[in-house]
């Protein structure tokens, strides 16, 4: 291989490393957790460890941010599926506490819009 070949392969490896860091590291590209309740909307930065609460029709749901990931830790629903869904850090991850009408979505810059279309 020539020097230019090595340079190109090194640049491709650097791009791969950058993509892994930005897209596969928890909190890498995910900047905000958007928590939507019936009366309130929270936009929570994932890089700050914190505890948050949001009110729904059944009561208060609690969420916890640790190490760039957010999880429901308490909710007044019956089956606790939102808590069992675990922590979410990936860009685009979505979960909800349906009985308490609280949804959680991980978004980054300019990620809103339609999911997909086909024809």
């Amino acid at each position: 291989m020539r020097p230019a070949d090595l340079l190109i392969v090194a640049a491709a490896l650097a791009l791969e490393a950058l993509l892994l860091w930005r897209l596969w590291t928890p909190g890498g590209s995910a900047e905000l957790a958007i928590v939507q309740g019936p009366q309130q909307r929270l936009e929570l930065p994932l890089h700050q460890d914190a505890d948050h609460a949001i009110r729904g029709p059944l009561g208060v749901s609690r969420l916890r941010i640790r190490n760039g990931a957010i999880a429901f830790v308490d909710s007044p629903c019956q089956r606790k599926l939102c808590i069992r869904s675990g922590a979410h850090a990936r860009h685009g991850a979505t979960t909800a506490c349906v009985p308490n009408r609280i949804s959680l979505h991980i978004a980054g810059a300019a990620t809103e819009g339609i999911d997909a279309w086909h024809r």
Binding site: A4, D5, L15, H91
Partner: protein, 191 residues
Amino acid sequence: MPGTAEAASALRDARLARFAALAAAVHVLEAGLPSPVPGIKPGLANIVTLIVLLRHGWRAAVVVTLLRVVLSGLVLGTLFAPTFWLSLAGGLAAVAALGLGALGRRAGGWLAPGPVGLSVLAACAHIQAQFWLAWSWFIPHPGLLGLLPLLQGAALAAGLLTGLLAARILEAMQRKAAALPAGSPGGILPP
């Protein structure tokens, strides 16, 4: 003599048509291979593009790429379907990257990439163009971004593989050309 020029032009066209047919055949065969993740393919048709670039120049590589995309679209029944546009975008990005590589070869010295560097450059440009077109046009969902590191890694591996294969084939072609009598039709092989 006009007759000689016409004959040379016809010979060149026929040669490019043969390369395009070969590239399209490889493309179609590869489309039948199972893939663990959509979009991950070895890209063996790029070997043909690379050989055309190194032996007959960048313009010939562009012609072969465009013909390959259209021909394989016709054969696979995907002409003007989303996969056709993805294939076209990838092919155009790859030949644009190969154009940069060809400029580097013209400059010579340490800037001149060999088949492996050119192949990696083309494979990365190909997958990036396809991905961003798919993401912006067909599936604008942030979840798709999670696939990008996988696709880029696969493109790097495929680029290395096809580059090494192209280098071996070019060496064999050079040996064969050297064995031919002087004046036989051959290609340009800068450094």
